[in-house]
């Protein structure tokens, strides 16, 4: 990294030589001795839908607030299209935020709320009118222009908040858990709408959530944060299928953590043995419940087989979570679609590649 103090310096180009759209460079934030963010580096492309995923305290909201300008960073730099973003006051940053609480102005009606950003910039009344109408039409809220925020529902407030940010044509839209206050059905609908809106507008979205299924459903890329660091980042399918740590494996969905010992390219996990491409020694693996199927109905290539007893089952509508006891100490959870009877012994199988080696655990004191 090039070091420098000139505020007008350009961001370092990435390996391909092209300029990175939004570059977060070694950003840190600490309150006293407490590190909320620890050297976060992230490059985001124009038009990308990136989700910052993490539990509370992971630093995801702090990172978003630093990009918006509500918090100062303790270390690092942020570039947007090559220019320093972190040195600008919030009102001069071409990024806008959709707040968890919507933060609509209670003393203004829907039209005035959406017009706010244009008005404070001195845009002419005629242009304001047409742009506000267009923005509200896009979120299907045109009919509510004269309503005050207290007279519309949560989902409607959410749409108005979106329109209020988008009408200013931000380069990056920051969304701070915007859907968490909505009920489950509305949430799914809004996820679809958000995704469609983002693809339609081609605006870069940086979305914060603690909900892993939401993150997997709407993002081009998921950045998993844990204790102020990036635990893992990648496309939803990749990050789900190939978790790198046990934390990632468990946060991104249910997973079986299986311990084993590797000898001569074979991992001996006691309940079963599977071919792996790992150095000799102890290892820990993630095995997703849906990778396991009864041997009779398993897909071809399910080459790792084991016998187990069904000791518990939990019906979830779309499937049944089944607890399989392989031995006294070893139990695995499988998600199985077919009906399965309790207490029975059976043969189960999965594909060797679904056994994902994880980084050795770091024992925290």
């Amino acid at each position: 990294m090039t070091a420098g103090t000139d505020s007008l310096e350009k961001a370092s180009a990435d390996s391909s030589g092209a300029e990175v759209f939004l570059q977060i460079e070694n950003v840190g934030k600490s309150f006293g001795a407490h590190h909320v963010l620890d050297s976060i580096s992230l490059s985001i492309e124009q038009g990308e839908f990136v989700t910052l995923l993490g539990e509370s305290g992971s630093g995801k909201t702090t990172l978003l607030r630093i990009i918006a300008g509500f918090e100062t960073l303790s270390a690092g730099r942020i570039f947007l299209e090559g220019n320093r973003l972190d040195l600008l006051p919030p009102y001069r940053r071409p990024v806008h935020t959709v707040f968890q609480s919507y933060a609509l102005f209670p003393h203004m009606n829907v039209f005035d709320n959406v017009a706010y950003g244009l008005r404070v910039r001195g845009v002419g009344a005629g242009e304001i009118k047409s742009r506000v109408h267009a923005a509200l039409a896009r979120v299907r809220m045109e009919a509510f222009m004269a309503h005050y925020p207290r007279h519309i529902s949560g989902g409607q407030k959410q749409r108005v908040a979106l329109a209020r940010a988008l009408v200013n044509e931000p380069k990056v839209l920051l969304l701070d858990e915007p859907l968490s206050a909505l009920d489950a059905n509305l949430r799914l609908e809004m996820q679809r709408e958000l995704k469609a809106l983002q693809q339609d507008l081609g605006i870069t979205f940086l979305f914060v959530t603690h909900d892993q299924s939401e993150a997997l459903a709407i993002s081009d890329r998921v950045v998993l944060l844990h204790q102020g660091r990036i635990e893992q980042s990648g496309e939803p399918r990749e990050i789900y299928a190939r978790p790198r740590t046990s934390y990632a494996a468990n946060f991104l969905g249910k997973s079986n953590l299986v311990r084993g010992v590797v000898r001569n390219g074979i991992a001996d996990c006691r309940a079963f043995s599977a071919p792996v491409n790992l150095p000799e020694g102890p290892a820990i693996f993630s095995l997703r419940p849906e990778a396991i199927a009864p041997a009779s109905s398993a897909s071809s290539g399910s080459d790792v087989r084991f016998t187990a007893q069904v000791v518990a089952e939990q019906f979830h509508g779309a499937g049944t979570l089944v607890t399989l006891r392989c031995s006294e100490e070893i139990e695995l959870t499988a998600r199985i679609n077919a009906a399965i009877s309790n207490e029975t012994w059976g043969e189960f199988a999965f594909r060797a590649e679904d056994l994902v080696p994880l980084a050795p655990e770091v024992h925290e004191s």
Binding site: A68, G69, F70, P89, P90, Y91, R92, H96, T97, F99, S101, A103, F105, P106, H107, Y116, G117, V120, R121, Y148, R150, R164, A165, N168
Partner: protein
Amino acid sequence: MMRPQRSGALLVMLPPFAWIALFLFLPYCLLFCYSFWTVSEFQQILHHPTLANYAHLFTNPLYLTVILRTLRIALSVVVLSLAIGYPLAFFLAFHSGRHRALLYQAVIIPLWVSYLVRAYAWKVIFGNEGVLNTLLMWSHGTSHPLSFLLYSPFAVIVTLTHIYVPFVVLPVVASLEKIPRELIESSNDLGARPWQTFLRVILPLSLPGVVSGATFALLLSFGDFLAPLLLGGPASVMIANIVANLFGADYNWPLGAAVAVVILNIVVAILSVTQRLERRWRTA
């Protein structure tokens, strides 16, 4: 379930109702009755209902002059208290940091000091041999003590402002603190400069507090009689002084009661206007 709850509610409501009836409603009724009676030459109250007191009030220009002067002084106090109190409240609500509790106490503590002490303090400051004049003459700012400082509407306005600023600060601080921080961040985020955020978001949302603070200052100043008594001259006699005189030295309770009824009506009128404003700005 219904009955015990209702009787319980009644039991709880009884003391305040009794209190209001005994100490508010009854005296007002008495006052109202008195305002229709008259006083004989021998200073005896004649219990024959008549509108003579009101006729006297509305035909003698003295009363109107004093009421208008009182309103003028009270409004000056409101404007000055807001000019001093709003910035103070703004600072307390947004910038006082870890000294907040201490500064807040500093605003409240003067309320515990006797009104008389504070009024006399201004006498000490404004008098011919007072702090201000001594300082001015010592620094050769003036050759003679400034006489307009004391025993003038000016002295009354300054004293009342000093006394009622906390009454403005407290409700304004409360309304400023009630503004969700996200609204301010959101305004910032949408491109508003700090002064635009103040004018378009903070100020409108703090108006309920401004109105209640202004109402306190206005009504308390309007009914004040100590400041003009101690620090005001003949040109700053306020309506409450007239009432005090009528009930005291003049021993004309019926006329005093009539003036009091008129004042009460003015106060109720002001309150109904400010309450309507407050309600509108609170919900808007």
